[in-house]
């Protein structure tokens, strides 16, 4: 008799196909329902601004609720509130975000820099995206020409920009939605490492995904956030770096555009990482 794991594998692995003509028909009906939706029409007429305000309001409400919840629940010698407060005080950080679609997939990566004033610069693929408040501009690194921002870059940039504050909660909200019911500081079982590192664990309620946050015990600064889905190994990893504050022009799309039009600037690596005055 087959072991139970084989039965599960058999059922999950039972594939199904579909007829293309019906797919087309269903998609057309979906599109019609989407277009006909009165809310959809209203959203189109009212434009992006209202949608952005709604997102911002949602994020701020979630942040407020989460912050008070985290402060109450976190325990141990380094409280979550300490980490959050300390992070809020740093003038500048960058974060490398790696996303894997499943356990064996190669990660896609983006890099994000954020100033104390909430100005954002993001590199995803061949795009550099700039954002401040609700103004978002994207450029192709090679040509320096303006382009439509990549969808995922849009998502990250706009949600963070709308929070209008330099906060750890903004990053966490973007990564897992802020629906937090439990946070437990988990001291790393390795006694030596736990002298330096403190680990926080977050468990969102409606998904088996796990969120873990590593912070330095001495400085109280977060250094890594991971979201992991045990069902398929899908994961998002954010690695934080702190260094000297970049000049304002690093976050200025006009400065970037001007520098890329300069024929003497031919190194993409400089275009991605350096303020235009230093290229």
């Amino acid at each position: 008799m087959k072991p139970l794991t084989d039965i599960v594998r058999f059922i999950k692995g039972a594939s199904i196909g579909t007829r293309v003509a019906v797919d087309r028909d269903v998609l057309q009906r979906m599109r019609a329902a989407y277009d006909d939706s009165s809310q959809g029409r209203m959203m189109e007429h009212m434009g992006r601004r209202v949608a952005r305000l709604a997102v911002a309001a949602g994020v701020l409400i979630a942040l407020g609720a989460m912050m008070s919840h985290l402060s109450q629940l976190a325990g141990g010698s380094v409280a979550w509130a300490d980490v959050s407060r300390r992070f809020q005080a740093v003038p500048f950080f960058s974060v490398a975000i790696y996303m894997k679609q499943d356990a064996t997939a190669e990660p896609t990566q983006m890099e994000l820099w954020m100033s104390h004033e909430g100005r954002i610069r993001l590199r995803r693929g061949a795009q550099v995206v700039f954002a401040q408040s609700d103004r978002v501009k994207a450029y192709d690194v090679a040509s320096g020409q303006p382009v439509e921002p990549d969808g995922l870059a849009w998502f990250f940039v706009e949600k963070i920009a709308q929070t209008k504050e330099f906060s750890l909660e903004a990053i966490i909200e973007v990564m897992f939605g802020g629906h937090t019911t439990e946070v437990t500081p988990l001291i790393n079982p390795d006694a030596v490492i736990s002298q330096d590192v403190v680990v926080f664990h977050v468990e969102p309620p409606d998904t088996p995904e796990r969120v873990r946050i590593w912070a330095l015990r001495e400085s109280r600064l977060p250094i890594r956030i991971t979201v992991w889905d045990p069902r398929d190994g899908k994961s998002t990893d954010a690695v934080f770096t702190y260094f000297r504050e970049m000049p304002a022009e690093f976050f200025d799309p006009n400065a970037f555009e001007t520098s890329r039009q300069d024929p003497r600037v031919d190194r993409q690596v400089n275009a991605v990482f350096l303020p235009s005055a230093q290229i």
């Binding site: 008799m1 087959k2 139970l4 039965i7 599960v8 058999f10 059922i11 999950k12 692995g13 039972a14 594939s15 199904i16 196909g17 579909t18 007829r19 019906v22 797919d23 269903v26 998609l27 009906r29 979906m30 599109r31 329902a33 989407y34 277009d35 006909d36 939706s37 809310q39 959809g40 209203m42 959203m43 189109e44 992006r48 949608a51 709604a54 997102v55 949602g58 996303m99 679609q101 969808g151 995922l152 998502f155 949600k159 990564m175 897992f176 939605g177 629906h179 309620p205 409606d206 998904t207 088996p208 995904e209 979201v227 889905d229 069902r231 899908k234 998002t236």
Partner: protein, 179 residues
């Protein structure tokens, strides 16, 4: 989850192209779920189409609070339950003959193309009591955790876990005996 949040966010912003990705991403699992819950293939396909179209209508203002797949799977399971209840009502009012005639008229070329493996799995699952079949399909095709299935079935998580265990034991017997 990040991709689903992006998709919902795009739909909220009026980007209809995100519908295609939602459809491609979850179509097969929802068809397998509905196909396992309902014995009538065309009814199962109608359920999935209905759920996708209704979701598209909600999409401009849809707020994602958990897993998108879980939401869609629960919608499919709810609609399938309603279909089954309607079928039972039809039987009680003596209309089963008409329904039988309709189903015996030969299956028109539908939407889903079942693999042999899925047909076997589906056939075995048809032998399970409805509650056990719901638990297995929602867990394996809908990726719903037992806690959510327990809420949906309005029972305890232990009961759901027992149903899952009994169901797998029976499926093991049924599928092993076919070989």
């Amino acid at each position: 989850m990040v991709e689903d949040r992006v998709l919902v966010w795009r739909l909220n912003r009026g980007d209809a192209a995100a519908l295609s990705r939602v459809y491609e991403k979850y179509r097969d699992d929802l068809l397998r779920l509905a196909g396992s819950l309902l014995s009538d293939r065309s009814a199962a396909e109608d359920v999935v189409q209905d759920v996708f179209v209704r979701f598209a209508g909600l999409a401009p203002t849809f707020r994602l609070t958990g897993s998108l797949k879980g939401f869609l799977a629960t919608c499919v399971a709810n609609t399938a339950r309603n279909q089954l209840a309607a079928g039972r009502r039809r039987e009680m009012t003596g209309l089963e003959e008409a329904a039988g005639l309709a189903s015996n008229a030969g299956e028109p070329e539908g939407w889903a193309i079942y693999s042999e493996q899925f047909s076997r799995a589906r056939g075995a699952m048809a032998e399970l009591p409805a509650e056990q079949r719901e638990v297995v399909t929602l867990h394996l095709y809908g990726d719903l955790p037992f806690r959510q299935i327990a809420e949906w079935q309005k029972t305890s998580i232990k009961t759901v876990q027992s149903r899952y265990r009994y169901a797998l034991d029976k499926l093991r017997l049924l599928l092993s005996s076919e070989e």
